[in-house]
Symmetry: C2
Subunit: 432 residues, 2 copies
């Protein structure tokens, strides 16, 4: 008589949009998932403070989350509550009680990742979080495993679907930021309070996670220089088009010349020939540059209940396979001491746009100012400033790569010139 | 006194273009790789039948490969010899002697994968092969792990750089197949004997590997319906352009309605709006459609010494991490009995091109013939056949999705019609 193998039992915390789909996937595909794990996989409980949740069997529901993550009959905990507390305490308690944890909580990982990974390491369990960056796109595991022999030089990504949708609408239909945001809110692509998305905080958390993995170190949310899209104007979009670019909110981390790590989120002019330029709508994509593998791109749906549930349950299956073997999978390596590049030393190409007096010698004076600040000019575009401004011209200048602080100093100097109007506009430009 | 941890020792077989780079990566980055594994990783021996190999330390070289794969001081074997024998026997011997194996040998995996995986399973070691499909692109591990909870409906890819380069040249510069091939050979993108690439055999091996993983079954090289690009004409390229498409050699596997797996390699008209259409030159890309995650794309360099070495050594590090834990990683699951779709039952859109008499009623007769064979028409394009053929027209018809056998029967019927010249040209079209 063969004994039926003991199922691995999963507790899911937070049955929201993603949580409900993850529960459905675990239940509907239980037979397939069991075959892939090598042992039955069972959704044993769903933790929620709500008394009832549509689509979730009442018998599975429990409101005592603190007790649930400590229960002896639970092997794996899926945390989809979001936010810092109580998610952090619940995950730590689950780890201390020997459970592997799957989470999509980028805000928590970007602030307390090191604490969670250290606890997991000490207790021999997994903390997996493929869904935290890029929704369904496999990027965490490829960085941690497939590309582990290589040296990453830069990772950049479109990792926020809301802002990509808004910028896409502005670029394609010529609408203003406010109009595009309202449209995104109407369609459910943006929250009623869109701050976390449009100010880049969501992307910054993801940038911190990617930088930590890519450079085998610990980068936190506070290390990320963060700039949102709320100040992007129709004029910026038009200027980008003129320069053969499209504006994307890029999360970018890269190794600087001195070995430090530059991490930032910025609206960026991306040349149309770059693979990231054609990633439109609510899609996400991550572009990785490496010393050996050269350039790779990963693209897919960055959000949504079903895609994110796929990534979450993929992690559950992988963690369950490790449980079957009685081991934890390879964890994060963070043997490099954190060394964050001073934002002023981060180098990039820039596009500067200004209104100047349209009189002889002005361009020469401006070019001299660039040279004095050791900022090299790559391209210039001059057009009349407008029908009512006959003595003024709009001047757009794309620089070669230069350190941020130098460009800031240049702008300050330009703005003191009598021939240049105040309010020089500046945008990063991707590429060399 | 702390004991220095015992290094994990690697034997590399086949120091060719990829092998030399993999050896260099293992040597140059030994300190970093050791930190990522958690134990030193050492290239202990290089097996080659040649007496000396440029760039490889003579002290590492050994010509007795049979002895090498059995040596007690070797933990991991990297097989980069290629071909079926002696690679197969060497890998099996290595597995039987407790070594984990990393290989890039798609030809072997597509024919004897099941035997290698069963042996690895029986001996508790890993067989990893990320470099076998798509060079540096992480696609094997994402399919086996990240997407393991999902149900793949289709995988299609541009997985051969040589043919993609040739087709790209034909499309972009209007050159003939023969000219583009000669150019590719001159640049080193094509072999002196290009058969394996241009007839689709290389892509077919990769299709078999992808299908096995995606559908948790065993698909071999002989199961793949294979068609190369050597018969593609400038006229085909022009017709594709007219239809808003580009011709790509696609390896494609998909779940048919009856649950069977359709696997083929075919020159395919890909609509320009499809993400695979813009994958040009020697780049590779794999596009995956899933029930939950929707659509994902992975893109990168599909060949070359350095990128492929990155994938190979990434597998070495992952296998080494498993060795440190005393386990094998999760293996392939192939619990579904092989069930290959009859090629005649594989459905697709098709583009048919024919020369017809330009007289009243001909189009009606042809359309009637389509209807009689239950093949629905999506688009029609008619142009004069040429300046000297005033009574003839060239007719291009794109169908809706129809089974291959039905379209073949339709073509046979068309060719019996007095109004249709012999030699109806047919190409698959991607999409619905």
């Amino acid at each position: 008589m063969t004994k039926r193998p003991q199922p691995l039992r999963v507790a899911l915390l937070g049955p929201g949009v993603v949580g409900k789909k993850a529960a459905q996937l675990l239940i509907d595909e239980a037979a397939e998932l069991g075959a892939r794990v090598g042992r039955p996989l069972e959704l044993a409980a769903v933790g929620s403070r709500r008394a009832s949740v549509e689509g979730i069997d009442q018998a599975l529901l429990t409101s005592d989350l603190d007790a649930l993550v400590r229960r002896n009959d639970i092997d794996l905990v899926v945390e989809l509550i979001g936010g810092i507390e109580p998610a952090r305490s619940l995950i730590l308690a689950a780890i201390e009680h020997g459970k592997s944890v799957v989470t999509a909580n980028k805000a928590l990982l970007a602030r307390h990742g090191a604490e969670l990974f250290a606890a997991a390491d000490a207790h021999g369990v997994d903390v997996y979080y493929e869904a935290a960056v890029g929704g369904a796109i496999p990027i965490i595991r490829p960085l941690r495993e497939s590309l582990v022999a290589d040296s990453v030089t830069a990772v950049m990504g479109i990792v926020n679907g809301t802002t990509n949708y808004i910028l896409d609408q502005m670029h394609t239909h010529g609408v203003t930021y406010a109009e595009a945001l309202a449209d995104a809110q109407k369609l459910g692509f943006a929250e009623a309070d869109p701050t976390a998305d449009v100010e880049g905080h969501d992307a910054a958390a993801k940038a911190a996670i990617l930088a930590s993995l890519a450079f085998h170190t610990r980068v936190t949310f506070d290390d990320v220089a963060c700039e949102g899209i709320s100040s992007i104007t129709a004029g910026d979009i038009a200027a980008a088009k003129e320069m053969g670019c499209v504006i994307k909110l890029l999360a970018r981390c890269a190794k600087a010349d001195d070995g430090s790590v530059a991490v930032g989120v910025h609206p960026t002019m991306v040349p149309l020939e770059h693979p990231l330029a054609s990633v439109s709508g609510a899609f996400n994509a991550v572009f990785v540059e490496l010393e050996w593998a050269d350039k790779l791109m990963f693209m897919g749906p960055g959000a949504g209940g079903r895609p994110t549930a796929s990534a979450v349950v993929g992690d559950v299956v992988t963690a369950a396979r490790n449980k079957v073997r009685g081991v934890a999978g390879p964890g994060e390596t963070s043997y490099n001491e954190p060394n964050i590049c001073d934002p002023g030393r981060v180098s990039s190409r820039y596009y500067l746009q200004m209104v100047v007096q349209d009189s002889p010698g002005v361009l020469a004076q401006i070019a001299t100012c660039f040279a004095a600040h050791d900022v090299s000019i790559q391209a210039v575009r001059q057009v009349p400033a407008g029908p009512d401004a006959v003595h003024e011209a709009q001047l757009g200048i794309m620089t070669h790569t230069a350190p941020n602080a130098q460009v800031r100093a240049l702008i300050a100097a330009l703005e003191t010139m009598a021939e240049v109007d105040e309010g020089v506009r500046v945008l990063r430009v991707e590429g060399e």
